[in-house]
Amino acid sequence: MATVEMNGTSFEVDEDGFLLDYKSFTNDWVEYVRQQEGIDELNDEHWKVVNVLQDYYEKNGIAPMVRVLSKLTKYKLKHIYELFPSGPGKGACKMAGLPKPTGCV
C-alpha cells in the first residue's frame, strides 16, 4: 500500500488516497487532505463537517448517508461541495479519515 507524508508523519493510504487506519488520524492528516483538495484555509464549517463525520463514524462504524450529514450540519449538499470541492465522500470523508463505502452505492 502507498504511504504519504505530512510534517514528518507518514500515513498509509488506499488506492484512492483514503486513510487505511482511522486510528492513525491526526491534524497532519487534515493538513495533507486540505492541500490535496486545494482548500485555502479551513474554517469552522469545515471542522464542523469533519467533527460530525467522526462522531457518527465512531458511533456507527460507517459514514453517515449524505442526507444525514446535511441534516446534522444543517448545510445543504451544495454548500458541502463549496466547502469540499470533491464532495462529501472523496473530500470530507477523506479528510475525516473515514474509509470509502462499497456496495450498491
Binding site: E15, N60, M65, V68, K90, T102, G103, C104, V105
Partner: protein
Amino acid sequence: MSDELKPDELLDKVDHTPSQGTWMTESVQIRPGMYCYAAKPESVETLGLPNARSWNPMEADWKLPENWQEIIHNGIKDRLEKFRTFKIFMDVCVRCGACADKCHFFLGTGDPKNMPVLRAELLRSVYRNDFTTAGKLLQKIPGGDKLGGGRPLTLDVLKEWWYYFFQCTECRRCSVFCPYGIDTAEITIMGRELLNLLGLNIDWIATPVSNCYQTGNHLGIQPHAFKDMLDFFTEDIEEITGVDVAPQFNKKGADILFITPSGDVFADPGTYTCQGYMILFKYLKDKYDLDVTWSTYASEGGNFGFFTSHETMKRLNAKMYAEAKRLGVKWILGGECGHMWRVINQYMDTMNGPADFLEEPVNPITGTKFENAKSTKMVHITEFTADLIKHGKLELDKSRNANRVMTFHDSCNPARGMGLLDEPRYIIENTCDNFYEMPINTIREQTFCCGSGAGLNAGENIELRMAGGLPRANAVKYVHDKFGVNTLGTICAIDRAALSTLMEYWVPDVEVYGIHELVGNALILPGEQEREMDLRMEPLPGKEEADE
C-alpha cells in the same frame, strides 16, 4: 486521469475497426479507468478464501501461488464435471458472431475482446488445448494448437481473463441472441470463480461480500445504525405527510419479512424508494392490519457473493431464509433489487431450498397466489404492489407525480432472469400520467445494461462504466429529446446509483427514481396532512408558489 474524459472525448475514442494482429498472442494492456482495484487481503481472509495478500494489477508480480496453473487446471476440471452447462457452453459455440454487437461493453469501447464470443474464447481456448482430445493431439505438432483454436494457459492469458471477466456485467443480453442459447454470463461466472481460486477478486466485490458475511449487509451497517437510518426516514416522512410510519424490526410472528438491498437505506436516490416502501407498509398496516417486519440481521437483498463464486452466493443467500425461519413469518417480500432476483429465481431452490418451513405466498389482502414464488417463498415487491393496485386496494393520487415524465429501464436480472416486465410498468401507469417507452430493442428482454452491474459499480473504473452505459444512455436521450422524458424509473439498487452517475454524464436533465418512490408520493395515507412536498422535499406539482 481517465475519469476526467468529457463525453465527446469518450465518444471519439470508440473505434470498431478490427485490429490487424492475432488476438491469441497479443498481451493484455491493463489500463486505468477500465479495471477495479484488487481485493483487500482482510476481506478475502474473512471469507476464508485462498491467497489473501495485497497485490496490484498494474505490477508484473501478482503474487500467485507457485502451482497456480495446476490450481486452475483442476478448477476447470472440477467445474466441467459439476456444471453440465459449462461443459456444453465450452463445446457448442460455432463462433457465428450473433452476440458480438449485442454487448454494451463492445458497443461502448470497441474493444474486440468485449465481444461476448471472444470473451468466452479467452477461456475456451485453454479448454480446447487442455481438455479436448483434438487439442491434446494438436499441441504435439509444431503450430498445431492454432489449428484447433487452443492455447496454453500462460500468465498473460490469466491476466487477460482477469481484465475481461471484470469487464462483463453478466447482464445476459448476448444470450438472448445466441442461436445455441449459450449463457455467456455463466462463462464469466466460471471465469471469476476460477480467478478467485488464486485470490484474484476485485475489492468492490470482496469487501461487500465480507461485510455481508459478518454484519448482514454489503455496506457493513450494524443493527443500531440500520435502525438509525430508517428512523431518519421516519422523521422526514412525518414532516412531509404528518404521519408516523415507524417500521418494525426483527418482529417474531409478523406476517411478512421484508428484505431490500442495503443501498436503499444508505445511498441516494435509493433512500427515497426506501421511504416509499415504508409508506406502503404503514398504509397496509392501518387499512388491512398487515404486519410487515424488517430485519437488522438479514439486512441485504443483494448478493455480491454471486459475483465471486457459487459457494459465497450460497452462504449469503442462506441468511435470508434463516431469519425468515427464526422470525416465523409466512413468506418473504423482496425489494427493488436486480441480481438478487436472479439468485432467488434461478439458484435458491436447488442451493438452499426447499424453504418448506415457509408458506406458499398468498397476498392476504387480495387472495392472489403468487404461483411463480411457490417454491422460493419470496415475492418481488412490484408484483405485490401491482396486485394490490389491480384489486383496487390502494388509494393513489397520480397528480403528485404530474411533474414526472417517465421512461422505464428494465433491470437486466429481473427482466431476463425472471421475466418481470409488466408489473413495474403497471405501477408506473397507475401512479403517473406520463410514461414513454424507449425503443423496443433496448427494453424488456433486450434491455441494455446500466454498464455497472455484477459488482463493477466502483469509482476507479468510471471510463469503463460510462462507455458500457452508453447504449442505455443513448436510448434515454432519445425519449428525452423526443418526449421530454425527465425521469428514468428502475427497480434495482445498483441501477439507482449507477444510472444517476450515467445520466449526469450523458443526459444531465434526467433524474433516476425507484418505482416505489412514485408509489410513496401517490399513496394517500389515512390521516395524512395536505402534502406540499414530494419525498425529495421538493414542492409538489401545483405547490411551487406555496414554497416561496
